[in-house]
């Protein structure tokens, strides 16, 4: 599935970050994966573990934070988590609320061993 391509793209970013920090080692990375991003966190972690084996990043720690699906109401500006597709605003009942987060796929941080 596409998690392997995504993992490979993450590894490219890691290599670029490592090149900027000669003499240090990247020990772990933090990822933020939204609930409706279409990416399976377990599968992504598995793909990353496979790709880093026998590379400079062997043994890399992978911490994945899943981001809940949040909507904002255009009428009353309330923001709320959407659970079980309940998209109507809990404040005023407006149905046409908009996604504000939950579709992200981000690298949030790196843990670096200082040289």
């Amino acid at each position: 599935m596409h998690e392997m391509g995504i993992a490979s793209s993450i590894l490219d970013t890691l290599s670029a970050e490592a090149a900027k920090r000669p003499g240090t080692r990247i020990l772990a990375l933090g990822l933020k994966i939204g609930e409706v991003s279409g990416v399976n966190p377990d599968s992504l972690e598995f793909c990353l573990q496979c790709l880093v084996k026998d590379t400079d990043f062997d043994g890399l720690g992978i911490q994945i934070e899943t981001a809940p699906r949040r909507h904002r109401c255009p009428k009353c500006d309330r923001e709320f988590d959407v659970v079980d597709y309940e998209v109507a605003c809990p404040g005023c009942g407006e149905f046409e609320t908009r996604l504000v987060s939950g579709d992200e796929m981000e690298i949030t941080y790196l843990e670096v061993e200082d040289g």
Binding site: G38, R98, D103, E111, V112
Partner: protein, 226 residues
């Protein structure tokens, strides 16, 4: 040990190329539509109907993706618009570099609308920005009416759902009202059209939707988040 904040998009390189494509499309006033569906929902049939009835004076072109074969390009070429097949050789989605290469090979010149027919797959294509103005999901009535709930990522990121094969409604258990409700539950702002590529019903409305969307691009309407 120290923690360094990075805040990078996971698909940084794809998104960079997609951003370049999008800027190019906007600069040339091209409306680019990324068609996504499960295999067999009717993306190519919808394009056949579209090209057959494409408004006179308007120019279009198609990039059509498949894992193997150029069957789809062969189906679409007779309509006289530029068509280029992208074969991914196994990859389950199109990415921005494939579109960039396909576009160069297409050599379409001045066009109004570019259609990108993604690989038949309701999961992976959702994650890859191709520089399009919007994603459109095609859902057919021979599938389940709960598809939007099962594949939310695609529906959340699509601006329009085209429900196809409506001529088959008398023969299947698909509940179109429930499908519409499910699509709205996943993405309250999504537009919904009903078509039959066999009878041609609803194709005028689909062409009207494209024309309206083209106007929005030309008036410089802000691109939606989806």
């Amino acid at each position: 040990m120290s923690r360094v904040s990075v805040k990078r998009k996971v698909l940084k390189e794809n998104d960079r190329i997609a951003g370049g494509l999008r800027a190019g499309f906007l600069a040339r006033n091209v409306l680019t539509l990324n068609l996504i569906s499960s295999p067999g929902a009717g993306k190519t049939s919808l394009l056949e109907q579209t090209l057959r009835r494409f408004p006179g004076g308007r120019k279009t072109a198609v990039l059509t993706g498949d894992i193997e074969t150029d069957n789809d390009a062969k189906r679409l070429e007779p309509f006289g618009f530029p068509v280029k097949q992208i074969t991914t050789g196994g990859s389950c989605h199109l990415d921005a570099p494939m579109v960039e290469r396909g576009l160069a090979a297409l050599g379409a010149g001045d066009i109004d609308v570019l259609f990108i027919e993604n690989i038949g797959n309701l999961v992976c294509p959702a994650s890859f920005d191709l520089g399009e103005a919007c994603k459109i999901v095609v859902l057919s009535v021979t599938e389940g009416d709960d598809k939007p709930l099962k594949y939310p990522a695609t529906f959340v990121r699509s601006e329009l759902v085209v429900i196809n094969k409506t001529d088959l409604l008398p023969y299947v258990t698909f509940d179109i009202a429930r499908a519409r409700e499910n699509a709205k539950r996943v993405h309250p702002g999504i537009d919904i059209l009903e078509v039959s590529c066999t009878t041609g019903k609803g194709i005028d409305e689909w062409l009207g939707w494209i024309e309206k969307r083209l106007d929005a691009v030309r008036k410089g309407a802000p691109e939606p988040k989806t």
